[in-house]
Each structure stands twice: as C-alpha cells, then as structure tokens.
Amino acid sequence: MESATAVGAHEHEHHGPPPANQSSRVESQFLGMVLFIISEVMLFGAFFTAYFFIRVVADDPWPAEGMELPVAIAGVNTAILISSSATMHWALESARNENRNGLRAGLLTTFLLGFAFLCIQINEYANIGFAPADNAQASIFYGLTGLHGAHVFVGLLLLLFATTRAFRGHFTTKQHRGVEVPGIYWHFVDVMWIFVYTTIYIL
C-alpha cells in the first residue's frame, strides 16, 4: 500500500516526456563516435585497396615516373600531427586533474598544430607539380592524402567547439565527454596518417 502511494507520488512529481530508453551501457555520443570511426576505417581501407592494387597487382612503379613526393616536408607534418596528439592527451589529463589552464592550452595548441598540418598540406598540393588526372598514382596520392586532410578538417571543427567550450568553462573533472570524444577521433586521424605517410611517402 505504502509502495503504491510512493509510486503514485513519484509519477505525480515527474514532468515532461518520459526519459529515453537506453538499451546500451555506452553513452550515445560515445557510441556514435565509435561507429563513425569503424565506418571510417572501412572507407580508408577502400582507398588503401586501390593503392595496393596499383603497386602489387598492376605492379606499376611508385611514384610514377616524373613524380617526386616531398618526403621531408611530409615527415615534418607527421611530427606535427603526432605532437598534436600528445597535446590533446595533455589537455584531457589536465581536465581530469582540475587544471583548467592546462586544458585550454592543450586544446588550443592541438588546434594550432592541426591547422599548421593542414596549411602545409595545402601548400604541398600547390607546389607538388602533378594533378590528380595525370595518372593512377597521382589519383591515389590525392585521394588518400585528400581523404585524410578532410578528416583533419573535421577534427579541427570538433577541436574548435571543444576549445571554445573550454574557454567558457564548460568542462570539469567528471564531465569532459566533449573533450574525450574529439580526442579519440583525433588519435584515430593520427593513426591513419601514420599508415598514409608510410605507404605513400616512404615505402
């Protein structure tokens, strides 16, 4: 009798629509990013398949005759991107340790490093000396590096949101999902670049 009264009182206190059903233990924002990254791995896989088809199945030379890839500049870009992952991790650790200045500095530095990466890549495209339509190798080069560049651009947008929110004081030691999710995405973009740089520029 008492429990029925308590339930009735509880129902009386509730306003608005009923809470959304959660069938998973994983938060929806987190699950969305995980599924997105899994689909992105498959997308990159398709481009890498085209690359290996040219090099292994068709046995074409890489890079094509007359093409010269700026390995050193891309190496500097690689260092910039790996550094940006370290600053991203530092930002999140600062958020966990109540270091608000560290969080802001880390996110801002990550954003600037990512922006520098993108600017260097655009400059590389402007001076590389061949176009995507020249041959299959050039198409794959622009396809893979351009796909990755698009992901860096999306990552920069996520970082811009996170940095703006950090400067507005939005994140706490317990509530920092808005930094963690872009962080996972940013590390994924870096891992992809390691493979892109290795296969396209070095090997």
């Binding site: 991790h89 966990r96 963690e180 996972i184 590390h187 994924f188 390691i194 290795t198």
Partner: protein
C-alpha cells in the same frame, strides 16, 4: 634485463608519465574505449610501424 616484450610497454609508460598520467593497465587494448587507450594505441602504432619501416629500408639498402 629488459625483455623484448616489455620494451614498447615501458616506452609507452614513459610517454604517459611525461604527460602527467599513469594509465590503468587493461587486459585488451581497445582504442575506441577511451582517449587514454586511443593515445596508447597511437604510440604503439608509431613504434611498431617505425620498426617495420626501418627494417624494410635496411633490407633495401643492403640488397
């Protein structure tokens, strides 16, 4: 004496320590579980891919 298996682990741990964090050991590394594990996975990829590339370039230079 440092074994081969513990070499990447100690390297990753030192990177984490330099950045002010000590990650909790997990049985299986899942880079999609948390940012910490994603960063740890990135360091592993850098170390392993770097070693493979060095080995390939070395073999190419010799042959």
């Amino acid at each position: 004496m440092l074994s081969h298996a513990s070499l990447p682990v100690s390297l990753v741990s030192s990177v984490f320590a330099a950045l002010g964090s000590v990650p909790a050991p997990t049985l299986v590394l899942n880079p999609l579980r948390s940012e910490r594990e994603a960063f740890r996975f990135l360091i592993y990829v850098v170390v392993v891919v770097g070693a493979i590339v060095l080995a390939i370039l070395l073999v190419r230079a010799i042959s």
